[in-house]
Amino acid sequence: MKEIKGLIKKDLLNLASYKSTLIVVIICVCAVGSMSQSAINYIPIMMTAMIGMIALSTFSYDEIAKSNKYVLTLPTNKKEVVIEKYILVIGCIFIGAIVGFIITPVIIYIINYFRPENNMNIDYNLLLTTTIGGIFGISLVSSIQIPSIYKWGAERGRIQMFILVFGLIAIVVGIGYLLVKANINIDYNVLNNFLDKFGLVVLIILSFVMLYVSYKIAYKIYLKEEN
């Protein structure tokens, strides 16, 4: 466990160079979000995406310094190296979500204070939905991207990830098209009711399942890889 802490420290100290960029990004996200009532609800998603994606940039640092080879000379092993990356990514996703969830009402209060004529409302249900939606979205992207990076490297992995994401979208659109073509009607009310009742819980569970499966795949790839 101490070794994982050492690996996390290494990545966090690397990310320290992002401090000023991160502050600028947060200000920009807040500025964009404060433009309208509908835009402000997307702050948690944007914040989760920004902070979650920053964790993935540690792979580029590792690649530049070829540090994966060096790290394996330390008292650790490939399993701990992969686990650390997932802990870091999950941590960043949740920090992003929490920052987004907290910062949105704060921005609304500030806007309402300076522009009382355009009073904005805080919809906590919507805020929770967008926050968890953000967690799910970035978990999905990370779940695809991390094994891709282990397989193809940080640069090529990013390209492969986009191909995979577009492939997934194409499959979903294709299935929808085939359902319409085959005259199969889905009762959307049943689906909506289900999502209203259990949607957020399902998204959280799905996020963890995706990340767990992704970890298993990434570890298997990394175990075979020879630095």
């Binding site: 101490k2 530049i64 310094a65």
Partner: protein, 285 residues
């Protein structure tokens, strides 16, 4: 004498390279130099010892299997790799806070003492260090937890002679501090090894060509310089390799004293390790 590293018949197949049944030991209290051309298999051997790559055969470090006891073994090893380190966006001070998580016996005072001794800044990003400074930092990191074994992959490549000498002094001091310590050092700068190595292991195209005490190599081996007529009299079994030069033949012999007695040829030079390596690689038989 116990062995810090015992390697028995390790093999590794790549599409364009093969490590073939490598066996050698690194005894306690000794510095073993691993020499060979680029791509001969030196780094592959080091990676195998550190379990970075999978190989067949048996590797024991401190008498324990290197796969089964990987983490335990690595706590007592310090490693310097020529082309790999932690991120260059860190400072020497950052490295201290990272390394203390990996090694229970990480000695912060010792580490900062080395940084001072090597004139290394603590708050400057590593990316702004010169090659020599980077190498000194890697060495400071490798020895600050007082490991029982140092594994060094090309620790002096790309460095000027003054820094190389300083670095060799560090290794000398390190091994003299405790007789149980050992160093395995791969390099293609063979002159460095003449000064510090106790044994030389020469790898060529994935095979071990020889594994001999440095003293034996430098004292017993000889380069015979002779005419064509003299060379033709030498039995094939009495020399290792020969090179045909413009005006003479140069012949590498394993025991210059025996050779002198047998053939009565007086011009026998003392070879350097580099000369011996070149004969093996470029010489004919």
């Amino acid at each position: 004498m116990e062995n810090s590293i015992e390697i028995k018949n390790i093999s590794k197949n790549y599409p364009d390279f093969e490590l073939k049944n490598i066996s050698f030991n690194v005894p306690e209290g000794c510095i073993v130099g691993l020499i060979g051309e680029n791509g001969a298999g030196k780094t592959t051997t080091i990676k195998a010892i550190l379990n970075i790559i999978n190989t067949t055969g048996e590797i024991k470090v401190f008498g324990k299997d290197n796969k089964e006891y990987e983490k335990e073994i690595k706590k007592d090893i310090g490693v310097v790799l020529d082309d790999s380190f932690l991120s260059t966006y860190l400072t020497a001070k950052n490295i201290n806070s990272i390394m203390k998580e990996f090694y229970n016996n990480w000695d912060k005072e010792k580490y900062f003492r080395y940084l001072k001794q090597f004139d290394l800044p603590t708050n400057k990003l590593i990316k702004d260090f010169s090659s020599g400074m980077k190498m000194k930092l890697k060495i400071a990191v490798a020895i600050s937890h007082s490991p029982k074994l140092l594994i060094l992959d090309e620790p002096t490549s790309g460095l000027d002679p003054i820094i190389r000498n300083e670095i060799l002094d560090i290794f000398r001091e390190y091994i003299e501090e405790d007789e149980k310590r050992a160093i395995l050092m791969s390099t293609h700068i063979t002159t460095d090894l003449e000064h510090i190595a106790d044994y030389i292991v020469f790898i060529e195209k994935g095979n071990i060509i020889f594994n001999l005490p440095t003293e034996e190599l430098l004292e017993n081996y000889g380069i015979v310089k002779c005419s064509k007529q003299e060379f033709e009299k030498i039995k094939n079994t009495d020399y290792i390799k020969y090179k045909k030069e413009k005006y003479q033949y140069e012949v590498l012999v394993q025991n210059k004293y025996d050779f002198k007695r047998k053939y009565n040829i007086d011009v026998i030079d003392k070879p350097t390790i580099e000369d011996i390596m070149l004969f093996y690689v470029k010489g004919e038989k």
